[in-house]
Amino acid sequence: MGDLFSQYNVLGAFGITIVLTVLSAIGALVIGTFVAIMRVSPVAFLNKLGALYVNLVRNTPLTLIIVFCNIGFIVNLGMSVSNDFARNNLVWSVIGLATYHAAFVCEALRSGVNTVPTGQAEAARAIGLTFGQSLREVLLPQAFRGAITPLGNTLIALTKNTTVATAIGVAEIAGLMKTMQEDRADLMIPIFLIVAFGFVLLTLPVGLLTTKLSTKLAVKR
């Protein structure tokens, strides 16, 4: 079994999984925050646009989004971000993953915003803060703290969902698992276990950390 590790670049493939996770998580957080701001803004048009985004993206299967990123943007529209084929697929996977999980980040943050009593938003306006200042100083800091647990869940889901990038040929761990299992049918089960264990290793700390953070940073009311 040890030769699996020497024969295949298992750690490298997990590395790609981690890269996909980290970059997509950052993207999803940025886009999701932006969409959440649209959804709580007093401008009706932005509200609707935000809701449209969430409902459209959240209800589309992730595989479809990733494949669309590949076929739609790279093949049909020729929107290559890099001449390197592998790199191109990686970047579009990150974009697809970030777009998809942003909808969940948005909803997590919105639930966080709902933990802030409306009176505080009114008090912020009453002392003369603009909408942007109220968001930055009063609503979002409390919303993030109130949303740590659902944000953590989204990050865990995202970590596991990176396996979908295989569909467009990103060399992450699920793709390697398939290759290994085809080559070494005798080691089918151990290969499964190694990969499953790897994911637990990646996601477990996230769960533990968010549980700890959410109690530590909880806003006392």
């Binding site: 009593p117 008090a123 603009t130 100083e137």
Partner: protein, 242 residues
Amino acid sequence: MVVITGVNKHFGDLHVLKDIDLTIGKGEVVVVLGPSGSGKSTLCRTINRLEPFETGSITIDGKELPNEGKPLAQLRADVGMVFQSFNLFAHKTILDNITLGPMKVRKLSKADADKQAKDLLERVGVTAQANKYPAQLSGGQQQRVAIARALAMKPKVMLFDEPTSALDPEMVNEVLEVMTELAQSGMTMVVITHEMGFARRAANRVVFMADGQIVEVATPDEFFTAPKSHRAQDFLGKILPH
């Protein structure tokens, strides 16, 4: 100072404010009374545009508050507001609650804002709690901090919407004392309260509202001893101790 003319407002079909006319002079303290649902809070909130209204005008120091955006925010800073439920920012310390507005809106330096905040905390008697969070304070202390937070903006007028009705009875007086002192210092105030003692002690005028209308305006003495309207007599009969 505050001139309200012909203000009308609806919530859907409900006509909450009906042709409200009211002028509040500089340094005047006006107590607004009336049964629950008569529109007192709504009137108070239209003064700083937390609620929009349909017709009429409200000017503060001769200036009409704009409808939206940054200019509104700037002018809102001139109107202090104290809520029934305090509404302190739960994730900020007491000191940071008070310095936020001055730093972000009035562009004071941190040092100046801190100094001003400490003076205000001393004035309302909660100096020792400066570095605590709102949830660690009693209701009475929180409300006094809320008053300090509003005062930190150096407002031209202060609005109070039932500032003592969410408090345990033993904390009511500490808040009323701060408000009385504020009234005596010459602050222009609009106070919704059912505290007769405060009204008699501090108010120049009592405005009685019912069903979205101003029914009676009188001095506290006149109003409490000889209310003219039936609605007011009825209302006082219900709330005054027998």
